[in-house]
């Protein structure tokens, strides 16, 4: 696989972590309890840790991006290739948990396969990350159940989160050209093969949580091609603020 294409493949994976971590970072200090605050911060820290490993690797492969921070901070919006799901705002705790849960189930299945990548660096990152993500998935699934099967209000809010974000789930399994190439090279993951297990697992937890599985057949996509929702520009404005205002400095 060509270096530049491998770079694109890795960045596509890492952007999900970066953007979700950024969203969770906004919540720090504003959670519903100290315990949830600490747990969500922990998840954000894990995601940033993983992001750094991916970007450090990508930076080595890239002709223009020399450091992890160049990759993280100095691209244009169209060059970020995270799925739309992770950039959705922290509307309320039901949304936060729904976004986390819908991503974590995917993330775990993805890493399980990435463990077997022919690319040793990616396999090593996956080996470390999967332990962390197994905790993320437990945390978010438990909260889906707690809120779904808690009070009437929490049930309604949790359902709202799931229903609103459901339309972004299908994009998790969309394949880009780089991904197809990476699969051919034995490096990347054929996402469509994860789809069945994903919905099976998600539906199972939703059922346990007394929530209904949304039935809408309409899905949104675009993030993986760099076409984001209107929320993304603001997220990047915060993320890139220092690097854009004070270019070429060490921090």
């Amino acid at each position: 696989m060509e270096k530049e294409h491998l770079y694109q493949y890795i960045v596509g994976i890492a952007d999900n972590n970066l953007v979700l971590g950024q969203r969770l970072g906004e919540l720090c200090g504003h959670g519903p309890s100290l315990e949830t605050d600490i747990a969500l911060t922990n998840i954000a820290l894990d995601l940033f840790g993983q992001t750094r490993s991916y970007y450090q690797y990508a930076a080595q492969l890239s002709a223009q991006h020399q450091t992890e921070d160049d990759v993280a901070f100095l691209r244009k919006e169209r060059e970020y290739r995270n799925v739309l799901l992770v950039e959705q705002p922290n509307t309320h705790f039901g949304h936060v948990i729904a976004r986390q849960f819908l991503f974590d189930v995917f993330h775990y299945l993805f890493l399980e396969q990435l463990l077997h990548s022919k690319d040793d660096t990616l396999a090593a990152i996956a080996a470390k990350a999967i332990k962390e993500v197994s905790y993320h998935k437990r945390f978010s699934s438990d909260w889906v159940k707690r809120l779904g099967d808690g009070t009437e209000e929490s049930h309604q809010k949790m359902q709202e989160g799931i229903s609103n974000l459901w339309r972004y789930t299908n994009e998790l399994f969309e394949m880009t050209a780089y991904e197809n190439e990476a699969v051919k090279a034995g490096i990347g993951i054929a996402l469509s093969e994860l789809k069945q297990n994903y919905y099976k697992e998600v539906n199972h937890i939703l059922e346990e949580a007394t929530l209904s599985v949304p039935e809408s057949p309409y899905f949104q996509k675009g993030g993986k091609e760099g076409i984001h929702t209107e929320h993304m520009g603001y997220l990047l404005a915060d993320l890139q603020y220092m690097q854009r205002t004070y270019p070429n400095m060490n921090w």
Partner: protein
């Protein structure tokens, strides 16, 4: 209990304090000792929790991934400190919810320093360096305090705080070794955080209403002014290494005393902020109360769910 019995218990208690024995939650203690400790430990816990806000303000905008992760971890440590301290206060017979209630109603205080805004990245460095530096001086003195749970919490907290302080200083060092614009950012942060940091040690000794009793109970080991002096003496050489200067024209080395002389704190500003009229008092309380109120449905759901699960277990067992 008769007056005589209480007097007797008080005498035993005072003797234990004099022998530097730790007082544990189940031991008898004078009511005033209990109340003073609830006040101080909860004030400390609230400071940790409110302190998450000014620093949290820069998590999304931290200038590098390394700094972002370090800042997140730091703010998370503060949440952890809040947890131990609330737990230590709970051993004295008050619940976390009651303590929150006191914070939200304005009855309980928290460190005034967190009512100042963080308006540049250098403020994150300055807070680590100065605010955590001042906090450590206060807290090291508390590691040997007479109340066991507080002293033990303090030992753990001090270790983490000293790590934060080094991290903050390292941010300042990086800025001061950077471009002129970065160094100016560092100087500006020092200008704004210096005096509020000195205020962290509280009023002058002669105006500190709780000092005498707190010294007697070994809740305090040194007076406010002694600790403030120690902070100045320790911090000025660090500013010299950075190549930036504290905003105090009266600061000078006193050879005879072997310490720095420094100017007078603006006590009007001190009292204004303590009384709730600092730059961010309103915002900080709104953020805390807002998080608490918006989180009510989540906490309620967790309680109801736990009850449902417990009932299911009972039903399965029978």
């Amino acid at each position: 209990m008769s007056d005589k019995e209480i007097k007797n218990l008080e005498a035993i208690f005072e003797a234990r304090i004099d022998r530097d024995e730790k007082i544990e939650p189940k031991d008898w203690m004078p009511e005033k000792y209990r109340q003073t400790h609830i006040r101080q430990i909860s004030q400390h816990a609230h400071s940790e929790i409110v302190g998450m806000l000014p620093e949290g303000n820069w998590i999304t905008r931290a200038p590098s991934l390394r700094r972002k992760a370090a800042l997140l971890a730091k703010v998370q440590d503060e949440a952890g400190h809040g947890l131990y301290l609330y737990s230590a206060a709970e051993t004295l017979g008050i619940s976390r919810n009651e303590l929150y209630e006191q914070l939200h109603s304005g009855k309980a205080k928290y460190s005034s320093i967190f009512n100042y805004p963080t308006i540049s990245w250098a403020d994150i460095g300055a807070i680590g360096w100065l605010v955590d530096g001042a906090a450590i001086i206060n807290q090291v003195a508390l590691c040997t305090t007479s109340f066991g749970p507080y002293a033990r919490a303090m030992v753990r907290i001090c270790k983490e705080e000293s790590f934060h302080q080094r991290q903050g200083y390292e941010i300042m060092l990086t800025l001061c070794k950077g471009t002129a614009e970065q160094k100016a950012m560092a100087q500006d942060a020092l200008n704004r955080w210096w005096w509020p940091s000195l205020m962290m040690f509280g009023p002058r000794d002669e105006e500190s209403p709780h000092t005498a009793q707190s010294m007697k109970w070994k809740l305090k080991r040194k007076t406010n002014d002694e600790l403030r002096q120690q902070f100045v003496d320790q911090t000025i050489p660090q500013a010299d290494i950075l190549g930036i200067t504290v905003p105090d024209p009266n600061l000078k080395w006193n050879e005879a005393k072997g310490q720095y002389d420094f100017g007078e704190i603006d006590w009007d500003e001190f009292w204004q902020v303590v009384k709730g009229h600092g730059p961010c008092n309103k915002e900080r309380m709104e953020a805390r109360v807002g998080a608490w109120e918006e989180g009510t449905w989540v906490r309620d759901a967790a309680m109801v769910y736990a009850e449902k699960q417990a009932n299911k277990k009972v039903a399965q067992a029978s």
